[in-house]
Symmetry: C2
Subunit: 274 residues, 2 copies
């Protein structure tokens, strides 16, 4: 058994020091948790309007201040953290990333592979591979926000052994939460969606984020669900072993029953582009 959960809060756009400090306060409040997931881009806010903002607000991983602060608190609280962060690299690229950090220090970064809407103007897409992290008490996989829409990614993470899908998000609609329930049962995994709340009000645009962070189970249960607009930390005890049991009935193994030999589209991906 382990305690897992989400931290739902309102990052202020551009206020990286405030946001980082606030995540540390919130993590401290649930130092009893084994795993906490924080929202996408939770140090910067979401609604970038030009690349100079990215240059100013993005951080190196793991040398940046936020990753270093999370490494410190993960050690102090003996907690694993998955947190969305705006990453910059030495070769001048920017990624919409999530870091996995544990009591033992920095572990790895996942760079979002399915960029949403205008994110394509600012971020480079990640290029995998999709890794699984065995943290001893469970095996974790990471996806970010709009990755929810692509069943292939969570499927592969689950096939590779992920028991818990960590899902930092900045959602404005409520599709993802419903689809993550489908991801849970079709792969028999837990999912933790950590969404933000509040708005990003920028000179030319505005977005309101809609909370409802949630934890779902391999049996398609919603174990925890947050409000649409309140800062909330949700923590629930789960048994990761349940996600190793892929029998959806006495006679159906949800992976071995796949008819992989038949899963060939007639039309290939390249033809779609014509």
């Amino acid at each position: 058994m382990m305690k897992v959960g989400y931290i739902q809060f309102h990052p202020l756009f551009g206020e990286v020091d405030y946001n980082r400090t606030h995540t540390l306060e919130l993590i401290h409040q649930r130092a009893d948790a084994d795993l906490l997931v924080l929202p996408e881009l939770c140090t910067t806010g979401y609604l970038f309007t030009d690349k100079t903002e990215l240059e100013r607000l993005a951080e190196f991983i793991p040398e940046g201040k936020s990753t270093k602060a999370w490494i410190k608190i993960a050690k102090e609280t003996n907690t694993y953290l998955v947190a969305g962060i705006c990453e910059k690299t030495k070769d001048g690229k920017f990624y919409n990333s999530s870091v996995l950090i544990g009591p033992e220090g920095y572990i790895d970064t996942y760079r979002k592979i399915h960029l949403f809407n205008t994110e394509k103007n600012f971020f480079s897409p990640g290029n995998g591979p999709f890794k699984i992290y065995d943290i001893g008490i469970a095996k974790l996989g990471m996806i970010i926000c709009f990755d929810w829409a692509f069943p292939e990614l969570t499927r592969i993470l689950a096939l590779n052994g992920a028991e818990i899908i960590c899902h930092p998000s900045n959602l404005v609609l409520s599709f993802a939460q419903k689809v993550m329930l489908a991801r849970s049962i079709e792969n028999r995994v837990y999912t933790i969606t950590a969404n933000r709340i509040g708005d990003d009000i920028r000179p030319s645009s505005k977005l309101i984020f809609t909370g409802e962070s949630q934890v779902t189970s391999p049996k398609m249960e919603i174990l925890l669900k947050a409000s649409v607009d309140k800062e909330e930390i949700g923590v629930v005890e789960i048994d990761p072993l349940l996600a190793q049991n892929k029998m959806i009935t006495a006679n159906n193994h949800i992976f071995l029953d796949r008819r992989v030999e038949l899963y060939q589209p007639i039309i290939n991906h390249n033809e779609l582009e014509k």
Copy 2:
């Protein structure tokens, strides 16, 4: 625009003549529909207990009485029909199948590829391929009941051009309806789930089927939903062209945004069996 829907009713186990006649009465009631989907195994009932029952109740396709009756009514009413039927073949096999029949006659049969629980004791699994049927006003794909749990199948049908997924079902839980909503948005397709109601009470077992037949849209709307226990025909007008538009945002094509080159599990299917 076209009128599509489901016929939700209570097939009586083993009463093939009654069940067939009843489907004809119900189809006649909505002769204005362009496409009607009927439940899985709707001529026989679901809960087979031995193979002699299958031998007695299954039908050849298209020479069997049920397919012939549906061919006749499809012509009379100018309606396309998708109906679940217990199929037998000349080589002594049985399939959990669905037939597609139109005003022009018998079109094709889909044999369920993901057999549920004890169905494995009675039916051979289908072996594809997964075909798409262009009926002029729309392109159709077929899946049956537990196929809902495998995102690959609906994904492939949609990649191959299906605008409407026809889904004859015999559901006892309510997972499938929620997951079919996910199938709708992740593929931007319509889905029509035709579930049955009532119970199959057999010497050694009993199942209660739970209705809630539904039609969902590419925007993840529930356009129509039936009760859990009433005989109902639901028909709604839809625009199949909406399912050709795969742009989920101005910058996201739900198929072209797939990162097919990255979708490779590390663990292969065979290794799972060890």
